[in-house]
């Protein structure tokens, strides 16, 4: 059967293929494992040139690292994961080669330059693919390859293309291809420069800059003008981008600090274990994701939503235990509280290290938190966007709890005047525990969000504790709005300084600024009366 198929294929090839085609697809595939990356790139180009229907699958498998050679007989196979097994298929005949043992096959290696060749090759094969998304990918690959030889093909394909997005991408690719070679005339190239200018991004600039520095009497000035115009608009977008980075950093700071705004700000407890409560939230997320991966993989995209309430409960529970078991005996003795909670933080860290090990744990991003989208020349990553939304949501829910609920009223009453609140029949001890638990629970929520952008390791909390205190003190202990204002203003200030001063100096300058500010206004941005202020 395979033999008949092979000869049939060969016959078809013979009829269809031109004589210039030196080797057939069937001969080229076995040649892939031979030689170095350079030889492999040539074989890839030849395979693409055959235009064979099976070529795309082979090249895609090679790109993904799924093309292997069997150690038993040295044949080239495509390996796919079926359940827990690796199954091999012959790319030429399509025959099933059965299950591959561990170390039974070796991967055909690719490196970055070969990957670029592969993307270009797959691009040329899929320029007329029925799926417009694939055509778009193909056009992008052609743009990146900047290959002058593709000029004619791209021109033909562009004429037949109907989809608007693909047409734009193709015309940009055509412009790059025209500028890279001599196939197009001058007016065509000038039009190409205009097309790239309207694209306006850094990749377009990367192509125009060398032309602007060249010595072509017509093209160089045109490209230079285009680059200047693009640089100007990029500067404006750069400002917007910095504001966005600042907001995003601010939202992370806000999340980390907002729990502390309650335990330290409202209650006046110097809680050095705050960072570890954040870490517990992150590890809860990890545990939830592990459970989901093990039993219900389809739930993965919901893992964070499931983890959030659990993290709140876990961290909140630990918080209540800390308050009842330790902190309540130390009210009014800030130094002892500091030392005791510092000790608790070390205990928590080492406990987590003993249970989960010292290594980083992998917390995956759900699909709706991966990648980025662009507004103009500004890149916004989804995970940062969702964290900003999440931190604001947590903030307003907390504000609502404090201002509009019975427990919130009791918390404020106890904070402002403990003996009076006790006389009114409020169980101050219980309120203390709940307040501390609320602050700790919010720290746990912060952990869920931070697990998406930072390491989940026992040291996670340490990196946030100083920043958190800084934000709460700067914003004014006890003021929730102050915490919000402090987080975002420090975030944005930091991000505007960073490009000029570097990350290290920016951080130092922010610290110096806060020290000076506290000299002038010891109670922070928004001063509030509270136990912390009285003592």
């Amino acid at each position: 059967m395979p033999l008949i198929l092979r000869s049939l294929c060969a016959a078809v090839m013979l009829c269809a293929a031109t004589l210039a085609q030196a080797q057939s697809f069937d001969d080229l595939v076995p040649a892939l494992p031979e030689g170095g990356f350079g030889e492999r790139a040539q074989v890839v180009a030849q395979i693409a040139a055959t235009g064979d229907d099976r070529a795309e699958a082979v090249l895609a498998a090679l790109l993904e690292g799924d093309l292997h050679t069997l150690k038993s007989d040295g044949t080239v196979v495509i390996v796919t994961e079926v359940g827990r097994d690796d199954v091999a298929t012959d790319p030429v005949t399509g025959a099933d080669r059965g299950i591959v043992e561990r170390r039974g096959s070796s991967k055909i290696r690719v490196n970055n330059s070969l990957r670029r060749v592969l993307r270009t090759a797959i691009g040329t094969l899929t320029l007329t693919h029925p799926d417009p998304n694939r055509r778009l990918e193909a056009a992008d690959a052609a743009f990146k390859s900047a290959d002058p030889d593709q000029f004619e093909i791209l021109k033909t394909v562009l004429d037949g293309e109907q989809d608007r997005a693909v047409r734009t991408a193709l015309s940009e690719a055509l412009a790059v291809s025209a500028l890279a070679g001599d196939a197009a005339d001058e007016s065509f190239k000038l039009a190409g420069i205009a097309i790239l200018q309207s694209r306006g991004d850094q990749e377009a600039m990367a192509i125009l800059r060398p032309i602007a520095e060249g010595d072509d009497p017509v093209l160089a000035p045109a490209a230079a003008d285009a680059v200047t115009a693009m640089e100007q608009s990029q500067r404006l977008w750069g400002l917007a981008q910095n504001v966005w980075f600042g907001l995003s950093l601010g939202s992370v700071l806000l999340l980390a600090a907002i729990g502390l705004a309650i335990t330290f700000g409202v209650m006046g407890v110097i809680n050095m274990a705050h960072g570890e409560l954040v870490m517990l939230g992150a590890y809860t997320t990890f545990a939830v994701q592990e459970a989901i991966r093990g039993s219900m993989p389809w739930l993965f995209d919901w893992s964070l939503l499931i983890a959030a309430p659990l993290a709140f409960l876990v961290a909140g529970g630990v918080g209540v235990a800390i308050e009842r078991g330790c902190v309540r005996y130390l009210y009014g003795r800030p130094l002892e509280t500091l030392l005791a909670t510092w000790g608790i933080s070390l205990i928590l860290q080492q406990t987590v290290r003993s249970i989960f090990g010292p290594n980083n744990r992998e917390v995956g991003n759900p699909s709706w938190m991966s990648g980025a989208f662009e507004i103009g020349q500004m890149t916004i990553t989804y995970n940062r966007l969702w964290i900003l939304i999440f931190s604001l949501a947590v903030f307003f829910v907390l504000l609502f709890v404090l201002k509009r609920t019975a427990i919130g009223l009791q918390m404020r009453a106890v904070t402002q005047n403990r003996p009076m609140a006790a006389d009114m029949g409020i169980r101050t001890g219980w309120v203390d525990a709940m307040t501390f638990g609320l602050g700790a629970g919010i720290a746990g929520l912060a952990g869920v969000a931070l697990s998406q952008i930072d390491n989940v390791s026992p040291n996670l909390g340490q990196s946030y504790i100083v920043d958190s205190f800084m934000i709460v003190v700067f914003g004014g202990a006890g003021s929730i709005w102050g915490t919000l204002a402090a987080a975002f203003s420090l975030g944005i200030a930091n991000k505007f300084m960073e490009p000029w001063t570097g990350a290290v100096l920016a951080k130092i300058l922010v610290l110096i600024f806060i020290i000076l500010f506290i000299q002038k206004r010891p109670r922070g941005l928004f001063a509030v009366r509270g136990r912390a202020v009285d003592s």
Binding site: N360, G371, I453, N459, Q462
Partner: protein, 425 residues
């Protein structure tokens, strides 16, 4: 099941040995292990402690050294640099160990140096470092800059055609010195100063948005751009996450890292990172019988088939075997005799070659450049023809170029070949 049974029996036997030998102190040779088991560096160093325990256990199964069993003494310096010196003193003076395997960060090594010198003991240091040092009591089994950084840059220049360089590092001694050497090297190779950008970030930096977008910007000048990363430890995960999220693929701007190995990648989804590079002297994916055996015994020892091996573990493997061989050759584990016997000692490494201890207390190693794969492993895309001898003093820094280290003939770690004196410039 049977192998598990065997392992259990083996472990039982080993503990039996240990408890009996602990009574008869004179019959054991004590080996100190000085790696942080808590604090920031625990993430990297705990693995090395386990690797050392495995090597010692295996050596004991072979009958120990000079007819005596080895007894590991583990202490925890808790990622606290001054504590390293105290713990080193405790090991050498209190426990009377004959050799110490330990340290990770350069600052911890610098902190223990005077202790080893004063008490005349031996330290094997297994991590790639910035060079510019050679001490009589220390044997450097990790890579010197010429065994990692320089070949990696050469690869990017020759194979990928890189013309513009971002040198990104964490702000401490290793990245600063390495970047100084690299900058001098790149300038000597004719790279224009405006094509080199250097930036430093604090330890544990987690907000990489600005820096990644700067790198993107720097890469849009129409010249092929690459990032050489000496970013250390935990800061790598958010850095790579940000690269992936902002859509910088290895085909556009490759990142070559000197501190990212299999262990660091195990906490990361590597799908968006495929193609980014690392330069080391060993990768877990290297296909040699020695490496397969090492991986198998490591997985059996640790009891978790998902655990990975990495470059510093191989350095300990080489260093430990060199020490065993030198001690057997000298017939004693006395520090002076072993120090004298070590230079010239040859042992097989895990990549199919034979590493030798040089008179400057560094070793010969192959240099491999690997690309990250979607399974968290590296594929070797390039390697040096033979083994590269470690150079203690970089030839690319004017102040260290005339210096030479030779503990065999000159008995000096920083001999100045211009003034012909020992003691540097």
């Amino acid at each position: 099941m049977t192998t598990l049974g065997k392992a259990l029996r083996g472990a039982g036997l080993a503990t039996l040995f240990m408890s009996t030998t602990a009574l008869a102190q004179d019959d054991t040779i004590k080996v100190g292990i000085l790696h942080s088991l808590s604090g920031t560096m625990a993430i990297s160093e705990t693995t090395l402690k386990d690797a050392m325990l495995m090597l010692i256990e295996e050596q004991n199964k072979k009958g120990g050294v000079n007819g005596k069993m080895l007894e590991p003494v583990v202490v925890d310096p808790a990622s606290d640099w001054p504590l390293f010196a105290e713990k080193a003193r405790e090991l050498i003076e209190g426990e009377e160990v004959d050799v110490v395997f330990g340290c990770w960060t350069s600052v911890s090594r610098k902190s223990v140096l005077p202790v080893f010198e004063e008490l005349n003991s031996i330290l094997f240091y297994p991590v790639q470092y910035e060079g510019e040092e050679s001490q009589r009591n220390v044997f450097y089994t990790g890579a010197a800059p010429n065994q990692q950084a320089i070949p990696a840059v050469d690869y990017l220049m020759n194979e990928e055609g890189v013309e513009r360089w971002v040198l990104a590092g964490t702000d401490y001694v290793y990245p600063r010195t390495t970047n100084k050497i690299l900058e001098a090297y790149l300038l000597a190779k004719g790279v224009a100063p405006e094509d080199i950008e250097i930036n430093y970030t604090p330890f544990g930096h987690s907000d990489w948005q600005t820096i990644v977008s700067d790198i993107k910007d720097f890469g849009s000048a129409g010249k092929k751009t690459a990032v050489v990363s000496t970013i250390n430890g935990d800061a790598n995960v958010p850095f790579y996450k940000e690269l992936g999220n902002q859509g910088i693929s290895a085909e556009d701007i490759p990142v070559v890292a000197f501190s990212v190995g299999e262990e660091e990648l195990s906490g990361l989804d590597t799908e968006p990172l495929v193609g980014h590079l690392a330069a080391w002297n060993y990768f877990m994916s290297v296909d040699t019988p020695e490496n397969d055996a090492f991986i198998d015994s490591w997985i059996e020892f640790i009891g978790d088939e998902n655990r990975v091996t990495n470059d510093p573990m191989e350095a300990h493997y080489i260093g430990f075997n060199m020490w065993v061989k030198a001690a057997e050759e000298a017939g004693t584990t006395d520090a002076d005799a072993v120090i004298a016997a070590l230079p010239g000692t040859e042992v097989p490494n895990l990549t199919g070659g034979i590493s030798v201890m040089l008179p400057n207390h560094h070793i010969t190693k192959p240099v491999l450049v690997g690309e990250i794969q979607d399974d968290g492993q590296f594929d070797v895309v390039w390697e040096t023809d033979g083994l590269v001898p470690g150079d203690a003093w970089s030839d690319f820094l004017p102040e260290s170029a005339p210096l030479k280290s030779d503990w065999v003939e000159l008995n000096c770690g920083n001999f100045n070949t211009e003034t012909e004196t020992c003691g540097g410039a």
